[in-house]
């Protein structure tokens, strides 16, 4: 009896120990893990995605926006008749205008996806619009479903592509802005996603009596730019036609408001479609206006002349005493572009005739050090700080390294490299009464009722108001009576200057290859815009007066009504 009792006691003791050990294992050792699993069952967490901000033109219209798109997928085990489903889907997914294969090929592609036996879930098509989604939904196909995804759209197509940049993916597959505004303001546009976490019953219905946590998504901020949509389209269209008309390899045009530095239009060709960026090579993404440098040639002359006028080195009626023939310096001989010489030319005439020898006279009067100081004050040698990703600045030769030849050639824009945006900013100094303004694309940031103005950044005074006025008058004469006078618009006071620069190739200048440009502003008395047009290697004529200048005036003629500029006489 006692033995039986002991066996029972022993059995219960062992059982109790085993039970306690097991309990210890589940509660203590695996307690944390199991607790997490249990939480996952009753605690629901839902991501609240943040919508990327839009990029708007100055009138509030969209240049870039995020819209809903749909991912069409199939749950393969639920598909009953793959061929029938594929044929039905192909009718909605085949896009004739893309001319990529036939309807039959599209049906076969879908059928191939539906017949895969290595996966359960398979994506069929991405970025479907709402209408197509609704149409497919109405078919009630078993095993076919949709997932919402965000799609970036550029309603004006390739217009302003190089200002906007594009939205791509980073190494981890997350959305990321590249180039232009999408790149520069990526974090501002992106926003921050939120979540809602709460306990729910087996049906997923939230239990309000239990704890819940919520963090709302912070939607991306919208950018309102200075870009004038009508002007942007005009500039792009005219530039494209101009490139075709003059047989140029490439071209750029940029329009800026000299009073606040706002970029009203900026275009370059060749260009790309930001919505289809994957189809283009990297070379298309670079914005030549801010990333490419060129030797400016004669469009640089107003900058040097303005510096000399401000320094008191010359007056508009100062006479050039070396302008009677080619000028010799070291082993070089500097000639005028047309080999015509005008002895005792005034400075106004030097600019009017685009006289290289006359500009050497101006450079010599200014002197090496002052020449360098003014170049720095005009902003050459450093980036302008424009709010676009990818800006580059060519280096300026150090102050002590300038030789007499360097000053002589730089005075007519040779042997010095600038970017188009640097040149536009420098000419804006003249148009803005001597004050420098930082170029700026974005005007304000907006989010619902909140709004923040991005104030124009005023730079230093570069030249006096008097010098700015004098050089503006000289540029008016250059536009009216210079080599491009035939193309000038009568009735409007335009201050401008042509520039034909040879392209340096392997240590020498190629006579056949030129960059033709025209820079100017209007109306000269109260400038509303500064514009630079450049054409790379025009074939119809190498001269800017026959290519870039007429194109500039064509664009200006379209800009006048957009800005409400009336003829002055």
């Amino acid at each position: 009896m006692l033995l039986r009792l002991r066996i029972v006691v022993f059995f219960f003791t062992v059982a109790a120990i085993a039970l306690l050990t097991r309990l210890f294992y589940w509660q203590i050792i695996r307690g944390g893990e199991l607790s997490l699993q249990a939480r996952a069952q009753y605690l629901g967490r839902e991501q609240l995605p943040a919508r990327r901000g839009s990029i708007l033109a100055s009138d509030g219209s969209w240049l870039s926006a995020s819209v809903d798109a749909w991912l069409l997928y199939a749950m393969i085990p639920e598909i009953e008749d793959a061929r029938r489903v594929a044929n039905q889907l192909a009718l909605f997914l085949f896009e004739e205008e893309k001319e990529e294969g036939t309807l039959m090929e599209e049906a076969m592609r879908i059928e191939g996806q539906l017949e895969r036996d290595d996966v359960v879930w398979v994506p069929i098509e991405r970025k479907l619009d709402g209408a197509t989604k609704n149409n497919i939904d109405a078919l009630g196909l078993k095993g076919i479903g949709f997932e919402r995804e965000e799609m970036r759209v550029y309603p004006e197509g390739s217009s302003s592509a190089q200002i906007l940049g594009f939205l791509g993916k980073d190494e981890e597959g997350r959305n990321r802005g590249y180039f232009g505004l999408e790149g520069f303001y990526d974090m501002t546009l992106e926003g921050s996603s939120g979540y809602v976490e709460r306990e729910a019953n087996a049906l997923g219905v939230p239990l309000l009596s239990r704890r819940s946590k919520r963090r709302d998504a912070l939607v991306g901020v919208d950018l309102v730019t200075h870009v004038n949509r009508s002007m942007q389209l005009l500039v792009e269209q005219e530039l494209k036609e101009g490139i075709e008309r003059y047989g140029a390899r490439a071209g750029t045009a940029v329009v800026m408001d000299p009073k606040n530095g706002g970029i009203m239009a900026m275009a370059s060709f060749p260009s790309y479609d930001p919505a289809e960026y994957v189809k283009y090579g990297d070379e298309y993404f670079k914005n030549p206006v801010i990333s490419d440098s060129f030797e400016p040639g004669s469009v640089f002359k107003p900058i040097v002349m303005a510096s000399a006028l401000d320094a008191g080195a010359v007056e508009p009626d100062s006479k050039c005493d070396i302008c009677d023939g080619p000028y010799k310096i070291d082993k070089y001989e500097i000639k005028t572009w047309d080999n015509k010489y005008y002895p005792d030319s005034t400075m106004t005439e030097v600019l009017m005739h685009s006289d290289n020898v006359g500009m050497v006279f101006v450079g010599n009067r200014l002197g090496k050090d002052k020449f360098y100081d003014y170049l720095e004050k005009f902003g050459f040698g450093e980036v302008t700080g424009i709010d676009l990703q990818g800006e580059f600045s060519p280096r300026l030769r150090d102050k002590g390294e300038w030789s007499g030849v360097d000053v002589a050639t730089a005075s007519f824009g040779q042997g010095i490299a600038v970017t188009p945006i640097q040149l536009v900013r420098a000419i804006s100094v003249i148009a803005n009464g001597g004050l420098s303004m930082k170029p700026q694309v974005v005007d304000k940031l907006i989010l619902d009722d909140w709004e923040e103005d991005i104030e124009s950044e005023k730079g230093e005074r570069v030249i006096s108001e008097k010098a700015a006025k004098r050089i503006a008058e000289m540029m008016v004469m250059a536009a009216k009576k210079g080599e491009a006078q035939w193309t000038a618009l009568t009735g409007f006071e335009v201050a401008g200057k042509t520039g034909t620069a040879q392209i340096p190739v392997a240590g020498h200048y190629d006579d056949e290859k030129t960059i033709a440009s025209f820079v100017g502003f209007a109306p000269a008395s109260d400038p509303r815009f500064v514009m630079l047009v450049t054409l790379r290697e025009p074939q119809s004529s190498p001269w800017a007066s026959e290519t870039a200048a007429p194109l500039w005036f064509r664009i200006a003629q379209g800009i006048f009504p957009i800005l409400g500029i009336q003829p002055e006489r």
Binding site: P155, G204, P206, L208, G491, F553
Partner: protein, 111 residues
């Protein structure tokens, strides 16, 4: 002896009364808890329904905005204008002046 019996009966009655009170109280607590649980569960269903409707409306709103974005693009408007045979103005008239494009080379000012 009789007194002792009486004391015992009274004590039992009191205990039974307390027990009944306790049961009633427990029932009341359970009933209230069930009532609120059912109530909050119904609210949860309501909340899910509201959230679904909000999501639907937001989705519709985004769809309409996408339509506005597409329809107001200048590219689309110019295509429509072209289909209606509307062309770009060749002459711009200013107050008191007319600037007209006479050829590809230049525009002439007429006073």
């Amino acid at each position: 002896m009789r007194n002792n019996k009486q004391v015992k009966t009274t004590g039992l009655k009191r205990t039974a009364k307390k027990l009944r009170l306790l049961v009633v109280l427990a029932f009341a607590v359970v009933a209230t808890s069930v009532f609120f649980s059912v109530g909050s569960s119904a609210k949860g269903t309501e909340l899910v329904e509201y959230e679904r409707r909000i999501s639907e409306l937001e989705s519709k709103n985004r769809e309409l905005q996408a339509q506005i974005i597409e329809e107001t693009a200048l590219k689309r408007i110019s295509q429509k204008a072209e289909s209606l045979s509307l062309g770009k103005a060749e002459t711009v008239e200013y107050i008191g002046n007319i600037v007209s494009e006479t050829d590809n080379k230049a525009a002439q000012y007429i006073q």
